[in-house]
């Protein structure tokens, strides 16, 4: 079976869909976060394969930036989760509904 750019993009799509499923189905806020990380990883894979296809390193730079943004996002997100856990004693996202109208 020849491995082409299509294979990489399909794998990236599958991983992204699994990440979306995780965000929508899981109740644990940390698991939702990890699913977001999975989606970012899938995007990175697609960007790297496109960069390889076109012979341009700009895609690699975007992956580099996404990894850095993910690190920043994790720092803030986990701080939020810790703060929520302190006040609510739970990180089940179904119990966080004080912002509904």
């Amino acid at each position: 079976m020849p491995v082409t750019i299509d294979t990489y993009v399909i794998v990236s799509m599958v991983l992204f869909s699994l990440g979306v499923m995780g965000v929508m189905l899981r109740r644990n806020a940390i698991l939702v976060f990890m699913s977001v990380e999975l989606m970012l990883n899938a995007t990175n894979l697609a960007l790297a394969s496109f960069a390889n296809q076109w012979g341009s390193e700009s895609g690699h730079l975007f992956v580099f930036f996404i990894i850095t943004v993910a690190a920043a996002e994790v720092a803030v997100g986990l701080a939020l989760i810790v703060a929520i856990f302190r006040s609510k004693k739970s990180i089940n996202i179904d119990e966080l509904h004080q912002m509904e109208g």
Partner: protein, 421 residues
């Protein structure tokens, strides 16, 4: 073989991502996500992105997932979704024994492969646009323009100078050189191939300058930390090049190029970095020394083209043409996807986004501190305001009992008010 491994790793990435979703234990989820990230790092390697693969392992699978696991264990959130059935530790770990053995064996195999001279994955590097530069080695040619079918490519290159590299589309290309000063046109047709760099050399004395195109591979080569030199003869007569190793013994020389006809380029020499003392001699009479490269410095990863030219010393009718060497140095192009290539792009085209990213990281650091710090400050303020007197006592009781004593705090707090009445 490699294709099979790639497909297996892709399957492993998808399966472990799926397991991450369905498992109930948050710690197991994090471990499965690490497996997926490792697989993606391997896929980066197969996509000619070794730097990204390393970043993926150290930053993502390392730093970020450590943070995740730390928070999971800090909050005790590993069993929040559903209570897992407790099994005795002995039985649980016995299941892991074959897995641990296999992983340890795999580690030994990989370390052995690295120690016994591992090589990077042999994947085809994507083709880059061919580049071309123009070198003026003709003292009497004056101003000239180089045209392609799309228009002017390069113009106004002074004598003894080279233009910067210009990207040109691959394929058979007709290059037209128009000498304005002596009103002369010359044409050359070259098949430009991807990944190659070309030099259009204008050379020759008098009113009939010649043009030629030489291919030049300036991409980074396998033997890192080495430089390469090629010699082009733009002089009137055939030359030969020797390396006079001793200053005093005439016979202790190495002939590097036996004979190089005018308009020819030599083979490429791979040299150690440092100084070279090569000497150009007349090919027919080797005792006639024409020019000596005196302690010429060769830098790391430089690709150097040395043009041997005749340089007129006095302008005018009685010009004396003196042989001279003109080194054109260009730093070798970094390999695709490597740290040097990424670093080069970061510091040139992507400098502003990089700075903004630094600001974003600073903001997120401040945000993380503020979010986790506010709670503690409020608790401290409340303690100072209302329970100033009884606070040490409550602390002692709380530390003895092991949890907050809520009923005990109320009564001592009201005590001073009653006394005041």
């Amino acid at each position: 073989m490699l294709e099979l491994v790639i497909v297996l790793v892709m399957a492993l990435a998808i399966v472990s991502a799926f397991l991450m979703l369905i498992t109930n234990n948050a710690v197991h989820s994090a471990l499965f996500l690490i497996v997926t990230m490792m697989c993606i790092a391997f896929l980066f390697l197969t996509l000619n992105a070794p730097f990204l693969a390393m970043i993926q392992i150290t930053v993502y699978a390392g730093a970020i997932m450590v943070l995740f696991l730390f928070v999971i264990m800090l909050l005790g959130a590993d069993k929040l979704d559903a209570a897992t059935v407790e099994t005795p530790p002995e039985r649980r770990y016995r299941l892991f024994l074959p897995l641990a053995t296999a992983l340890g064996f795999a580690l030994i195999v990989m370390l052995g492969a690295v120690i016994l001279g591992g090589r990077p994955l042999d994947r085809e590097v994507p083709g880059r646009t061919p580049q071309i530069r123009v070198i003026n080695a003709a003292p009497d040619a004056g101003e000239f323009e180089v045209h392609t079918s799309d228009g002017v490519l390069v113009s106004g290159v002074p004598f003894r100078e080279a233009s910067a590299f210009v990207d040109v589309p691959a394929g058979e290309t007709r290059l037209l050189v128009h000498f304005e000063a002596i009103d002369r046109m010359q044409e050359i047709s070259v098949p430009l191939e991807p990944n190659d760099a070309y030099s259009l050399i204008v050379y020759g004395e008098g009113a009939e300058p010649q043009i030629t195109v030489v291919a030049d591979d300036i991409s980074t080569i396998e033997e890192s930390r080495s430089s390469r030199v090629a010699v082009f003869n733009a002089y009137g007569t055939p030359i030969s090049m020797i390396d006079p190793r001793s200053e005093f013994d005439e016979n202790d020389t190495i002939v590097l190029i036996p004979e190089l006809a005018p308009g020819q380029i030599s083979d490429t020499f791979y040299v150690e970095t440092g100084a070279i003392d090569w000497t150009f001699v007349n090919a027919t009479n080797t005792s006639e020394r024409l020019f000596r490269l005196n302690e010429h410095e060769i830098g790391i990863d430089d690709s150097e083209l040395i043009l041997f030219i005749g340089e007129p010393t006095i302008s005018g009718a009685n010009a004396i043409v003196r042989p001279s060497a003109l080194p054109i140095i260009v730093e070798a192009r970094p390999s695709f996807g490597g740290p040097r290539a990424i670093g080069y792009m970061l510091f040139t085209d992507f400098m502003l986004p990089f700075q903004l990213l630094g600001l974003l990281l600073l903001a997120s650091m401040v945000g993380a501190i503020v979010l986790t710090h506010r709670e503690a400050e409020r608790a401290k303020g409340r303690g100072v305001g209302r329970r100033r007197v009884s606070r040490p006592l409550v602390n002692v009781i709380a530390s003895q009992v092991g949890h907050e004593v809520t009923t005990a705090t109320e009564e001592p707090a009201q005590l001073p008010e009653k006394m005041g009445e």
